[in-house]
């Protein structure tokens, strides 16, 4: 984490895009106070972008959603954009994705068409230096916590940046060879059963795996409402509120599941039938309304193997850029 005086210029927001927020790895340790974890919807992409510009993994970046912003830079910085694939220009020149590039004072970075995925992460060398709240710079919009004044960016905002990292990374030296999985025509997310699968009838997990869903229009950083198949719900039990987990598939009375995401409420009263594995959460974070998805059960052993593989790939990029 960079310390010391932040750059006085920062980034000026010319156009905000649909939903651009400051995010980092999330706010852990405060859920007992009702404070959500928040953080990047696609943590893999955030970490890659930070690694490419020589930031630590916990530096704050800008999460860009569906329609990206136009940003004006006032000092020389290294920038990398990872995650969803967009056409991006810097002062009219095409900028590469998944790769670090330099911006000069006065450069304007502009997002164009989106090609694949829903969220991209703009990491700037030095990181976004908004004040941390409860140990994190992640934005939780509903509670107005963290990020830039607890809200999405809007035109005219100036996002402060941390000091440029000492070891100035040569943009050409780090090639990101790790291709992040992004949604296709239909995305399959792996889940482990539970924690409340025992409250559902036998066969519900089979029904889940046979079901075909679309991410509904009422979907956001708190969770995705899934349309399409309806699942058989539990016997009409009134349940005590229980802590939630990111990736949890809640099944309310109408049988249309809700996939809990980064800004999910810390507790909830609907039973969770199955939970998306950590290694597939980044892919889940790249889904947009209208995208088709389905679920496949796997064992915890397989979930952890997948997580180890992903962690190895991310650490390979992180260690290259810090050497």
């Amino acid at each position: 984490m960079m310390r010391g005086a932040a750059s006085s210029e920062g980034i000026r927001v010319v156009e905000a895009g649909l939903l651009t927020t400051v995010q980092d790895l999330g706010r852990w340790g405060w859920q007992s106070r009702g404070v959500s974890v928040s953080g990047a919807m696609d943590l893999r992409a955030l970490r890659l972008a930070n690694a490419l510009v020589g930031n630590g993994a916990s530096a704050a970046a800008l999460e860009v959603t569906l329609v990206g912003p136009t940003l004006c830079f006032h000092d020389r910085r290294l920038v990398a954009i990872c995650g969803a694939e967009f056409d991006v220009t810097v002062s009219g020149r095409a900028a590469p994705m998944q790769s670090a590039f330099r911006v000069e004072p006065g450069d304007e970075l502009s997002f164009g068409s989106r090609r694949r995925g829903a969220r991209a992460y703009v990491a700037i060398g030095g990181g976004c230096a908004v004040p941390a709240e409860f140990g994190s710079r992640a934005t939780q919009v509903a509670a107005g916590i963290g990020g830039y004044l607890g809200r999405p960016l809007t035109a005219g905002d100036r996002v402060p940046l941390g000091p440029v990292p000492d070891a100035d990374v040569d943009p050409g030296a780090t090639r990101c060879t790790y291709r992040l999985a992004l949604p296709g025509d239909e995305t399959v997310l792996r889940v482990v059963p539970g924690p409340q699968d025992g409250l559902f009838g036998a066969g519900t997990l089979d029904a889940l795996q046979a079901a075909r869903f679309r991410v509904g229009r009422i979907s956001d950083r708190m969770g995705y409402r899934l349309e399409g198949s309806r699942l058989p719900t539990t016997v009409a039990l009134e349940l005590l509120s229980t802590p939630t987990v990111v990736g949890g598939l809640q099944v309310p009375h109408d049988g249309h599941p809700i996939l809990l995401m980064a800004d999910r409420q810390t507790t909830g009263g609907y039973p969770i039938l199955a939970t998306v594995i950590s290694a597939d959460l980044g892919l889940a974070g790249q889904l947009a309304p209208g995208d088709r998805l389905s679920f496949q059960c796997c064992s915890v052993r397989e979930a952890i193997s997948a997580l180890i593989a992903e962690e190895r790939a991310l650490m390979a990029v992180e260690s290259l850029s810090s050497s």
């Binding site: 924690p195 915890v300 962690e311 190895r312």
Partner: protein, 251 residues
């Protein structure tokens, strides 16, 4: 990278036929969390004794500071432990939980003074007071009397920062949630839902029946302990006139 022990296929699911009445029952929640159940999940089973064990266990887990544990979250009958599975194995956490549950199982809670919450009941502050009176066949004054008599326990904090779930409401005063939640409930609103009563710390959507409002700040990020009320705290409500509410609000 150190090798992470990979759990066997059945490590996380309690053996079939295990006695549901034997607690704690530990269930994996995804690959990075587990739930420690100390009582049944049905709303009808809300139980202060179970919750005392939950709060004690959550406290002990927090103090144990096991490397790799990211968060410990108590609720009515269950404690969630969120962890990094690449730093700590599920099996190790199960052992730690069992050890601490045995130590805290019969823990007595320290006697604390209840926090008194001054509430301006009815009128603009309590738009559902008359409806609650109608549903319970009580006078509004009796609703207030029944609400202000008990000492309540904070079972958990959740839903939104600082929102305390208090119980248990007098049986004569139990009403269901509103059929249509409000898109906006004023900050400080005091609500009823079944056996529970609660206070909305900030303006949020809400489905509870709103009978009054307090000027107390339930959640303040500038305080070292941001929540005025946490699990295990005791609370009483006191009816105040609008003038006193207004004076407190300005303070």
């Amino acid at each position: 990278m150190t090798d992470v022990p990979v759990p066997g296929p059945d490590a996380r699911r309690p053996p079939a036929g295990s006695n549901a009445a034997s607690w704690p029952r530990i269930v994996g929640a995804g690959d990075s969390a587990l739930l420690v159940e100390l009582g049944p999940p049905e709303s009808a089973s809300i139980d202060a004794a179970v919750n005392r064990r939950v709060v004690a266990l959550a406290g002990a887990l927090g103090r144990a500071g096991v490397a790799g544990v990211r968060d410990v979250v108590p609720a009515f009958h269950v404690v969630a432990v969120h962890f990094d599975p690449l730093r700590v194995a599920f099996e190790r956490l199960v052992s730690v939980v069992h050890e601490l549950a045995a130590l805290t199982g019969t823990a007595e809670e320290a006697e604390t003074e209840p926090l008194v919450v001054p509430v301006w009941y009815g009128g603009e502050a309590g738009p559902d007071l008359d409806e609650v009176a109608r549903q319970t066949r009580l006078e509004p004054g009796e609703v207030i009397a029944l609400h202000t008599t008990p000492t309540y326990r904070v079972f958990m904090v959740g839903f939104t920062p600082g929102f305390p779930y208090l119980g248990c409401v007098d049986e004569r005063l139990r009403v269901p949630r509103r059929s249509q939640p409000r898109t906006k409930v004023a900050a400080g609103s005091v609500g009823l839902a079944g056996a529970q009563t609660g206070i909305y710390p900030a303006e949020t959507p809400g489905g509870w029946q709103i009978i009054g409002r307090t000027a107390l700040r339930l959640f303040d990020p500038r305080r070292a302990e941001p929540c005025l009320l946490n699990a295990g705290c005791l609370v009483r409500f006191r009816s105040v006139a609008f003038e006193e509410f207004e004076a407190l609000e300005g303070a």
